[in-house]
C-alpha cells in the first residue's frame, strides 16, 4: 500500500513536472535574465539604473510610449464602435441558418498570415494603390494622398484585425443573452431603443470589456503592423525595443523597455479586472 501510494505521488509529479519545468526554464528564467540584463550597463557591464532612467529623460523614448498608448486607445474605441453594430446585425437580423456562414465570412481574412495582412493594406493605401487611384480617377483629388507610412495607416491596419476579433466575441455575447430579458422589457412597455440601451447593452458590457482588453494587450505589444504600415515616422514601443536589438545590439536597454511595456499592460489588466468585478456585483 505504501509503495503504491509513493508510486502515485511520483506519478502525479511526473505528469505535471515537464510542463512546469518548461515554463520555469523558458519563461520564468528568461524573464529573470531580462530583468538582470536591464540592470547592467551596455558598455562595460556593471550595475546601473540608467536603462530605466533613460526612458524618463529621453524625450523620444517617452514619446514612443505616448504614441503607443494613443494608437492603442484609438484602435480599441474605433474597433468596438464598428464591431458592435456589425455583430448585432449578424446576431439579430441575419436568419439563424445563415448566421454561421455570415460569421465565418466576416472573420475569413483573420486566417491570412498577419504579416501578409499588413502588407495587403500597404497595397491598398500606397501612393499608386487602389484608394489613391480611385480618388484621382474619379476626380475627387488631383494629387495622390500620403496614406501609407502614417499613423492613419497603422490605425486602419489594426482596426481591420480587431474588428474581426471583436465581432467574434461580441456576437458570442449577444447570442448567449437569453431572449426572455428582452421579452420582459417589451412586456413592461419599453421600445426597441430603450430595451437596447437599458437591457441589452448593460448585459453585454462585461463581454465588450474583455474584448476591449484583449485588443489593448495585443495592439500595444504588436511590432508588425506599425513597422509595415506606419514606417519609421512615429515610433511605438515595440518598434523602439526592436531598434535597440537590431541596430545597436543594446540588449540591456531593450530589456528595460520591454519590462516598462509589460508594467503598463499589467497596470491596464489590474484596472480592467477591478472594473469588471464591480460590473458583476
Amino acid at each position: 500500500m505504501n509503495t503504491a501510494q509513493n508510486n502515485g505521488h511520483a506519478l502525479r509529479w511526473a505528469l505535471v513536472a515537464p510542463a512546469l519545468g518548461w515554463t520555469l526554464l523558458f519563461f520564468v528564467l528568461p524573464f529573470i535574465a531580462m530583468g538582470l540584463s536591464s540592470l547592467t550597463a551596455h558598455e562595460g557591464g556593471g550595475f546601473t539604473l540608467s536603462n530605466y532612467s533613460q526612458f524618463f529623460t529621453n524625450a523620444s523614448y517617452w514619446q514612443a510610449m505616448v504614441n503607443s498608448l494613443q494608437v492603442t486607445a484609438i484602435v480599441t474605441v474605433v474597433s468596438v464602435l464598428l464591431a458592435y453594430p456589425f455583430a448585432w446585425i449578424l446576431a439579430e437580423m441575419v436568419p439563424v441558418r445563415w448566421q454561421r456562414l455570415a460569421l465565418m465570412l466576416a472573420v475569413l481574412p483573420f486566417w491570412t498570415s498577419y504579416v501578409v495582412r499588413s502588407y495587403s493594406w500597404l497595397l491598398v493605401l500606397a501612393q499608386n494603390g487602389v484608394v489613391n487611384r480611385a480618388l484621382t480617377g474619379s476626380g475627387l483629388i488631383s494629387e495622390p494622398l500620403q496614406l501609407a507610412n502614417t499613423r492613419l495607416a497603422t490605425t486602419i491596419g489594426f482596426v481591420h484585425f480587431f474588428v474581426m476579433l471583436l465581432t467574434l466575441t461580441i456576437f458570442a455575447n449577444l447570442k448567449q443573452l437569453s431572449p426572455s430579458y428582452r421579452r420582459a422589457a417589451a412586456d413592461l412597455g419599453a421600445g426597441p431603443v430603450r430595451t437596447f440601451l437599458h437591457v441589452v447593452l448593460p448585459l453585454t458590457l462585461p463581454g465588450i470589456m474583455v474584448g476591449a482588453f484583449l485588443t489593448f494587450v495585443l495592439c500595444i505589444g504588436d511590432y508588425i503592423t506599425p513597422q509595415i504600415l506606419g514606417g519609421n515616422n512615429e515610433l511605438v514601443m515595440p518598434q523602439l525595443v526592436m531598434m535597440q536589438i537590431g541596430r545597436r545590439g543594446d540588449f540591456p536597454l531593450a530589456s528595460a523597455l520591454s519590462i516598462i511595456l509589460m508594467v503598463v499592460v499589467t497596470a491596464a489588466y489590474l484596472a480592467c479586472a477591478r472594473w469588471l468585478k464591480i460590473e458583476r456585483t
Partner: protein, 260 residues
C-alpha cells in the same frame, strides 16, 4: 421609418464586409497579373508570380521549415499540456491553483517580450540562433493554450471510465493511452490545431531567434524590403489558401460532431 433603419443596417453590414475583404481581394487580385508592380490597373490574369514563388528555394525551404516547426512544437505543446492537465484534473496536488496559474501565465505576456526574454537568455548562455530556439519559443506560447483547452474539457464523467479501467486491472499507462487519450481526442485535436495555426503565423519570436534558416513569415518579411512586390502577393495568397482549406476542414470535421 422601420424600413429605413433596416436598409441602413444592411448597408452598414455590407460596408463592414467591404472593409474586411478589401485588402484580401486586392492582395489576391494583383497576385494574378504579370507586371512587376502589384498596382492598378489590373492586367491579368497570369500565374507568372506563382511560378516565381514555387521556384524560389528560399521561400519553399522556409515553408518546409515553418511546417516542421509548427508540427513539432505543437506536438510538444499538446503532449506537455495534456499530461499536466491530466495530472491537475485527476490528482490532488499541493499548491495546485498556483501551479496552474504559473502554466497559463505566458498567455498574458506579448510575444515580443517572450521572444526578447529568450533572446537575452540564449545570448547570455551562448546558445546560437536556430529553428530549434524558435520552436522552443513556440512551445512556450502554445503550452498554456493547450493546457487551458484540455484542462477545461476534463469533466468528471470521464473519471468513472478511468476508474472502471483501473478496477479491471489496467496499469496507469494503459488507462492513459487506451482510455483518457481517446476520450479526450476532440480537445486534444482542437488544441493541436490551434497551436499549429499560431505557430504557423508567428513572426516576432522566429524573427528574433532564427538567423539563416528561418520560417515563412520571416522570409515574407524579408521580401517586404523590396517594397510592393507581386511575389509577396502570390506567396500571401498561397498562405491564405492553405489557411482557408485548414479552417474549412476543421469546421467540417471537428465542429460538426458536437461532443455529447
Amino acid at each position: 421609418m422601420r424600413a429605413f433603419t433596416r436598409i441602413a443596417a444592411w448597408c452598414y453590414a455590407l460596408a463592414v464586409y467591404g472593409f474586411i475583404f478589401l485588402p484580401v481581394v486586392v492582395l489576391v487580385l494583383f497576385s494574378l497579373q504579370s507586371t512587376s508592380f502589384p498596382i492598378p490597373p489590373f492586367t491579368g490574369p497570369s500565374l507568372r508570380w506563382y511560378q516565381a514563388v514555387l521556384s524560389d528555394t528560399r521561400l519553399t525551404s522556409a515553408l518546409v521549415n515553418s511546417l516542421l516547426v509548427a508540427s513539432i512544437s505543437s506536438a510538444a505543446a499538446v503532449t506537455l499540456g495534456f499530461l499536466s492537465a491530466w495530472g491537475f484534473a485527476r490528482f490532488h496536488l499541493p499548491g495546485s491553483a498556483l501551479l496552474r496559474g504559473l502554466i497559463t501565465l505566458p498567455l498574458t505576456v506579448s510575444y515580443l517580450i517572450i521572444g526578447m526574454g529568450l533572446l537575452v537568455l540564449f545570448n547570455s548562455a551562448s546558445v546560437p540562433k536556430s529553428l530549434l530556439a524558435a520552436g522552443i519559443g513556440h512551445v512556450v506560447i502554445n503550452l498554456p493554450l493547450c493546457f487551458a483547452i484540455i484542462y477545461s474539457q476534463m469533466g468528471d464523467h470521464q473519471i468513472n471510465i478511468e476508474r472502471a479501467a483501473r478496477d479491471l486491472g489496467a496499469p496507469e499507462w494503459k488507462v492513459l493511452l487506451l482510455i483518457t487519450v481517446p476520450v479526450m481526442a476532440p480537445a486534444i485535436f482542437a488544441a493541436f490545431f490551434l497551436s499549429m495555426t499560431f505557430s504557423w503565423d508567428e513572426f516576432v519570436i522566429s524573427f528574433l531567434l532564427t538567423r539563416f534558416d528561418t520560417t515563412l513569415p520571416v522570409e515574407i518579411w524579408n521580401l517586404l524590403r523590396s517594397g510592393l512586390n507581386p511575389k509577396t502577393n502570390a506567396v500571401g495568397s498561397l498562405v491564405f489558401a492553405v489557411s482557408i482549406v485548414l479552417v474549412v476542414f476543421f469546421e467540417l470535421t471537428l465542429l460538426r460532431r458536437k461532443p455529447a
